[in-house]
Symmetry: C3
Subunit: 159 residues, 3 copies
């Protein structure tokens, strides 16, 4: 069967994609009020086993840690994939490329994915849950992000 997208879903996809991009823009500008307005009040955001924020207030405070960097550049490449769990709940995968520069000039680069649950609220779409996984990083990046799972090697020794 051919998959399709309804007119309503087209609009929803565009609004949700804006949300994912706005996160990066606001984070690089450290506009934390604009940033946390993208999340539900009771959001759960988990970057790694020991790095998580419960609720928008905590998230706003916790993301203050990004001021330790002199500059950052977060790009959510365009790999934004939107799946509808139901009319008001979507599961989003996006690819992120993140670069950070410390005041002493050393840099830390990471690539990964955000796995989001984005829900329709009275005020529009909001991120209710975010989980980050790491696909790659350079030696300067030492934050403990969940590793990206990968299928096991299927090749036999003979191949």
């Amino acid at each position: 069967m051919r998959p399709t997208i309804t007119p309503t879903q087209l609009v929803d996809r565009a609004l949700i994609t804006d949300l994912v991009h706005e996160y990066c823009r606001a984070l690089d500008a450290m506009e934390l009020n604009a940033l946390v307005a993208l999340f539900t009040d009771d959001c759960v955001v988990e970057y790694g086993p020991t790095i998580s924020s419960h609720g928008a207030c905590a998230l706003r405070h916790d993301l203050g840690r990004m001021w330790r960097w002199a500059r950052t550049a977060h790009h959510t490449s365009s790999n934004v994939l939107v799946r509808f769990a139901d009319a008001d709940t979507t599961l989003i995968t996006s690819a992120v490329w993140a670069w950070h520069e410390a005041p002493d000039g050393h840099t830390a680069t990471a690539t990964g994915q955000y796995h989001d649950t984005v829900v329709r609220t009275a005020d529009g779409w909001r991120i209710a849950a975010r989980r980050q996984v790491l696909t790659g990083n350079d030696a300067g990046f030492t934050v403990d992000i969940h590793p990206m799972p990968r299928k096991a090697d299927e090749r036999t020794a003979a191949r």
Copy 2:
């Protein structure tokens, strides 16, 4: 004349863009069944003069070579451009940034474009042909991808 996009084309563009993004997601996860489901059975995929796969079965086997990397991160930046050749055939250009890490820790990074022919089938849009061109790479990346053609320098010595 002002260009426009029909409602049907808007939906098609979204479905096709998903296809381009899903390729990267599935490749990094090494979900090869999900990956080859994006292609037609008789697809032709050409990464370089000596690296091509004819048919989805061959492609599935050939992409097993990516297991030689311990980790990969493929981002199809958002530069996905969709042109309609006819109602059921589109020509796609997308920009890819690809990072690979070997088990010994050395890395290989490349940037380039995918030039795809994506066709409408009974099961939805599928990639019928893909050709990669290389716009840039670091010293660790030694795979023989087609170079990206560039217009010749127009400047005169005097300018």
Copy 3:
């Protein structure tokens, strides 16, 4: 109030996003005629305090400076955000990742944002004004781009 997007705006967003992506594709290919066709005749393009072009003819000439690089890769990550100032005027933010390789092999990488004013003309959407800001760069990149403004650190010493 829930934000929404009209069917006309959906089409406009797609056409404008194409414009942003086409800029990168044309610049890497050095297809300068295709590139300047994306701009209004009286466009103002400002990359930094001392690097600006006034009008499409000047822009076409000035971008010839990119031939000093042997290769370039410009990715406008997908962070394309479109805001409508009125029905015919939009303010666009997009994230750019730019890599350049000189004939001697040294490279220069920069990340930043383009802040564009894109207007509806009789021939479709065109970039009337572009301003670049820099979010990050490596040591090889020495071009004087406007720095990206960032909110001041809110943390107190006690936190």
